[in-house]
Symmetry: C2
Subunit: 766 residues, 2 copies
């Protein structure tokens, strides 16, 4: 069996697995096992709204993406392809990469928005079932994305091979790099745009809902609440998926390109495609490991997920040993240095191990079972300021071990297989990605399931189960975030190496007058980019806040519906007249009955809660009814639309920085200054990304630690201080931090793809 065939088979296996997981989720009815019609109705209403919102976002985003893809493809063609191949090979690869990334994201979103409500439904029966449903929903994305990546890469390669005929493998791989650029460009939209969307909706829902209108969290009458839930999918499913799709595509392209420089590798088709094989090997291993994902008690969920991660990593390490020794030539030369296949295996191993270690340290700094986060929580006792100071310091400190692990991996990579080693280490870290993505997507599905349970008024029982899933999801999400940054760093370094190969830079002497100033500029970029994305969240949130306020002010009955029914329902719950898990249903009934006439409304209230407890001013009520008052429903769609528009508008500036900087610097000053800029951006960006993500994660979990009843519990001054930290951390951990992954990768791949264009550099300064 040839390597190509093996890859195609594994790609198909991955797609097939995704289809099976999808079927496993889809066959469960959305409200299966929910006996109460009121709950079932509410569940369907809420989950449809979330799904519809998510699709609205995607569709609008696609329009922007389409325009971007066309323009950028023309740019790639004009600046790169025209000079070298005549035919737009790079541009075409770019389009294919972009389209496949979009497709992968779409599949992930569909599965997640289908899985969330079914997880809620399954939680009605047992925790174990709910866990499997959420896990399977995540697996659709995990295996679907990797399958598409494998098939897309290998097909594009084969087609290019066919079309480009006599071209050397090196040239073919250069054209293939466009595929990575495509994937990474979509990740820009998904991670940066998505990150802005999710936090803008979150902030607006909290600020107007909870603070101004005094509505509880996740209340269906808050116009921004659906956008908030959509945001979880947009940011954590589509964003994370596109980010990691980009990492795979880019690392693979980088490894292929560097490998093609070696004649021993270029002349052996199996060795040439070895980088793709790494990902292909991960498919069956990950698939087997999904069988280990079983849990019936809350404590077992996290253990199970971690077990899956560890076992898949160990299996991967073993299998890759055989594959590497079999496929790679015993010795091979790259640019004068000789390496061995054993060395290549060491690189894969270094990537695998450091990925795990980075995940572990991320957890230590962001989980409230460890002392670091508890210290942040205790700092909230002396106020919001100390909470912020401790959280910032934690983030800065937390980058120590992950960065050291990365540095060691980089050293091992370089030492054992030169630049090729870095790219291979990166692919090693991404080796178990189907399972990694599954677990990443599991989190937001569980989170959404909890939201749906809350909004459709399910009982304590169900909430407790979805909460257990959500909590495990939070821990693994932190691990996933650390992992995404680590792989982005290695990917970026791999791309950087490939860029140097393509631009024919053999030594980068930073003592040149033309290089050292660009080290300063490079270190600067992650900071200005972070500043832009933080402000973007602010502006987008402002748009949303305006819209939510407008709806409350202009939709007749929206605010009143809330006020009056809520007062009555609250009173009844307090009395014990209705059980907690009937709240939604009774509320709906009250609205339906009472608003038929003012008298009926007033009577219904008085009857259930007694005349003295009736708080809503009777005159107001009657006046509204006489004016033709109807219970108002919020316009969720408009909120989603506003957030979508705002997020897309607000990503233009940071996106432009990322895309234009390497092109402009490369053209004006040449490849060496650009290389200086890239490497400084990379090392600074990684540290800043880890700091941002971990500060945010720590504040979040410090707040949750307090909400669990410690240090005064919910509502205490300490809690209020912790909420400030959490709010500051939100854009850091969900927008700026993850967006830095894109910054470092996209800058590097743009440099790689546009490298031929820089040969026409004006070479200012040198």
């Amino acid at each position: 069996m040839t390597a190509t065939m093996a890859i195609i088979l594994m790609g198909l296996l991955s797609i097939l697995a995704a289809l099976v997981f999808n079927w496993l989720v889809a066959r469960i009815p959305a409200t299966g096992g929910v006996s109460d019609e009121g709950h079932a109705e509410a569940m369907v209403r809420v989950s449809n709204a979330i799904r519809e919102g998510a699709m609205t976002f995607l569709m609008r985003q696609y329009r922007y993406m389409a325009v971007f893809i066309v323009i950028f493809a023309i740019l790639v063609w004009a600046l790169v392809d025209t000079q070298f191949y005549g035919f737009p090979y790079s541009a075409a690869s770019f389009v294919v990469g972009a389209v496949i990334s979009i497709l992968a994201g779409y599949i992930g979103m569909r599965a997640a928005t289908m899985g969330n409500v079914r997880t809620t439904a399954a939680a009605q029966r047992s925790l174990g079932r709910a866990f499997r449903v959420a896990f399977n929903s995540g697996a659709v994305m995990g295996f679907g994305l990797v399958g598409l990546a494998l098939l897309g890469l290998v097909t594009t390669y084969l087609v290019l091979n066919l079309l480009m005929g006599d071209a050397s493998q090196e040239h073919i791989m250069e054209a293939l790099a466009g595929f990575g650029l495509g994937g990474s460009s979509i990740a820009l939209f998904a991670r940066v745009g998505g990150g802005i969307f999710t936090k803008a909706a979150d902030v607006a829902a909290d600020l107007v809902g909870k603070i101004e209108e005094n509505i509880p969290e996740d209340d269906p009458r808050n116009p921004a609440v659906i956008a908030d839930n959509v945001g979880d999918n947009v940011g954590d499913i589509a964003g994370m998926g596109a980010d990691l799709f980009g990492s795979i595509a880019e690392s693979t392209c980088a490894a292929l390109l560097i490998g093609a420089v070696s004649w021993q590798i270029a002349s052996d088709p199996a060795a040439l495609l070895y980088p793709v094989l790494i990902t292909a090997v991960g498919v069956p291993i990950s698939l087997v490991c999904t069988l280990l994902a079983r849990a019936s008690t809350p404590g077992a969920i996290e253990t199970s997920l971690k077990l899956v991660l560890v076992v898949s990593t160990v299996l991967m390490a073993v299998v890759m040993g055989f594959v590497t020794l079999r496929v790679m030539p015993e010795t091979f030369d790259i640019r004068g240095a000789t390496y061995t296949n054993v060395g290549v295996y060491m690189c894969v191993l270094a990537g695998l191990v450091s990925g795990m270690l980075i995940g572990v340290t991320t957890e230590i700094y962001t989980s409230n079972r460890w002392p670091a986060v508890r210290a942040v929580a205790r700092a909230a006792e002396t106020g919001a300021a100390t909470n912020i100071i401790y959280g910032l310091a934690l983030g800065y400190r937390s980058s120590l071990f992950p960065v050291l692990f990365l540095a060691i991996t980089v050293y091992i990579g370089y030492q054992f297989a030169g630049m090729y080693g870095i790219a291979v280490a990166s692919l090693g870290m991404l080796g178990t990605i189907p399972i990694g993505l599954t677990i990443d997507a599991f989190g937001p599905v569980a989170d959404n399931a909890g939201g749906i349970a809350q909004m459709s008024g399910m009982g304590e029982n169900v909430r407790r189960r979805t909460d257990a899933l959500d909590s495990a999801g939070n821990t693994t999400a932190a691990i996933g975030k650390g992992f995404a940054i680590g792989s982005a760093a290695l990917t970026s370094l791999a791309l950087f190496s490939a860029f140097l190969v393509r631009a024919d830079v053999t030594a980068l002497n930073i003592l040149k007058p033309s290089v050292i100033p660009f080290l300063f500029v490079g270190a600067l970029l992650p900071f200005t980019f972070t500043a832009m994305t933080m402000r973007s969240v602010g502006s987008a949130a402002l748009d949303m806040i305006r819209e939510v306020r407008r709806q409350f002010a202009s939709i007749p009955g929206l605010r009143e519906t809330y006020m009056y029914t809520e007062q009555a329902v609250d009173a009844m719950v307090e009395d014990g007249t209705i059980p907690t898990d009937r709240v939604i249903r009774v509320r709906q009934q009250m609205i339906d009955v009472a608003y038929s006439s003012a008298d009926a409304l007033v009577e219904a209230y008085k009857e259930t809660i007694g005349p003295n407890r009736f708080i809503a001013p009777e005159e107001d009520l009657r006046r509204h009814v006489n004016l033709g008052f109807q219970p108002g429903t919020p316009d969720y769609r408009r909120c989603v639309d506003i957030s979508t528009r705002a997020s897309l508008r607000e990503m233009i500036a940071p996106g432009a920085q990322v895309i234009l900087t390497p092109i402009v610097v490369g053209f004006l000053f040449g490849p060496e200054p650009l290389a200086g800029l890239l490497v400084a951006s990379l090392v600074t960006g990684v540290v800043l990304a880890i700091s941002s993500a971990n500060s945010g994660g720590a504040w979040d979990n410090a707040k949750k630690y307090i909400e669990a009843g410690r240090l005064g519990g919910k509502g205490s001054e300490t809690h209020k201080a912790a909420v400030v930290g959490d709010t500051v951390g939100d854009p850091l951990k969900d927008t700026s931090g993850p967006s830095l992954n894109i910054l470092i990768k996209l800058q590097a791949i743009i440099s790689l793809v546009f490298a031929p264009f820089f040969e026409h550099s004006l070479h200012w300064l040198s």
Copy 2:
């Protein structure tokens, strides 16, 4: 006249000027023109306490410094001198540099603690007089420090020249580099230790005083209040002074060392000492410009200070043109490249201009006359979290222009005179340092003068004048901070270049496996260092808080004295019974009279404020008196001592990181990996330092903007949110940010001095 003589003359002129300025301040009686004895007494009491506290801090710090200097001198001797010169030349230079830096700091502190109370006294008469007193106090430090630096450098050079006999100029300059190391080591204590001291005292005074005990700010009965005032001197006078002394000493040593490599420069004594001449030329120019410092209206103060800065810069640019063309050889070679004296002049110019520009942009991002800070203030309207987010984003964004200016300066430096150019640009930026330091020291003197006026109950009139001085001081302090970071960056780069020269690294290829991992580590260090210093402030503050609480709990009568007299005095002020500017005196009288017996106390109260208004519980009062109750006075000295101990203890960890990292990395891995680490630390550290300083400055001034009555004014929710931002910013702008200057410089000079030791490197990894 030889260059040596010119330098010595200018050094003596500078010292003479300092003596004259000192006389101008000292001849004013501390309470001159204050007619009210109560005020005069209070002023003397408060200012003596501040001075005594400052000296306590210095004396204790000196003990630590002495131990450190001895140990480190032995280390320098053992690892460096033994291998090369036999005699401890480097170690001796190190000791001289350290001692002179200590002396300069001592002089600055004495002048400042003498000037503050005299500024208050002069403010009794007119704003113009008060301005001159504060300015002159600053000038003592400005000229004294530069004079000592010049004389110290040139004397050490001459002595080394004499002792080392046949050694080449290059070797002599290598030994002289110890002088820079000495200056920089003291800066570690002054900036990091001082930074921790000042913020610990500030936080403790605010938290226990204002929040727990509900005492107003700057109240003499708060045990931490003197420590807080001492802190202003310790951080902003001694810290800033030592930082800039280090910059001059280090840049000069770097320039001398690199210049000595060129035979044309080494063979011409005047050209060789050209780097010292730059600073020498600044003395007469600065001295002339001090005559321009005159202002009689609040608006004129800032204008006058800025005029002084601009005029001195322009004069410096002109004079340096003549000096450079006269002194420097028309062409000279350094490591194969040929440069011209015109090129050297361009470097000086680049440093001068970019120093000014960095100052200007710093002001734009930190003054509340500009929109950036106002946006941060408005963000406080939606709460503390948005205030923090906007402030952080502002800091990140604000590094753009300063870093670009630095990058351009670095390019010009390298382009026109290679590594020598960087060092010369750095000295150019520091050219007008006597006037720069004067203005820097002016700020804390004015700030202290305001505190003394408040604590001794001076009238509105005096307060308004000291406030006007303080406000101008804040603006120029921001400029000074930007300037200190900029010069630290160039200094560090100059040292880095000198290190490469000494370690004989001609090209630093970062693509080596042994270099690139250290770029990651280098980028990491500023973050871990910042985390450590931020936490240090927290721990030191905790010690202080405990002490203040202990004093309130255990000093008999301290809390009661406050409570009872304050209630009475407040009531009388409200009634109009006593005018505001008599508060201190009446309060003292009440304490003296009333506590003689319980009855007298109760009667005195009832008499002045009427029986119904008497709030203190009569029984409590009588009981206290029967128990031998005496009015308690806080133990200021103990607070100062605690803060001193805590700050010195807490600087050990960050200090150890800075000192040990380069030595360990250089020894284990060799000069090239160390160079990679240094350059990554440098570029990242600069951006982080600017961000930290500007975020902190912006929050501070956003709060002041609101306190001036806008957006709801003092006491509003918006103000409370802004206070959170200000508190977060305090350690960032006054501890972590400025300490990063030391990080980047000290790491570089340690590498430079220990370079010969690294020749015995184990060369792991390579």
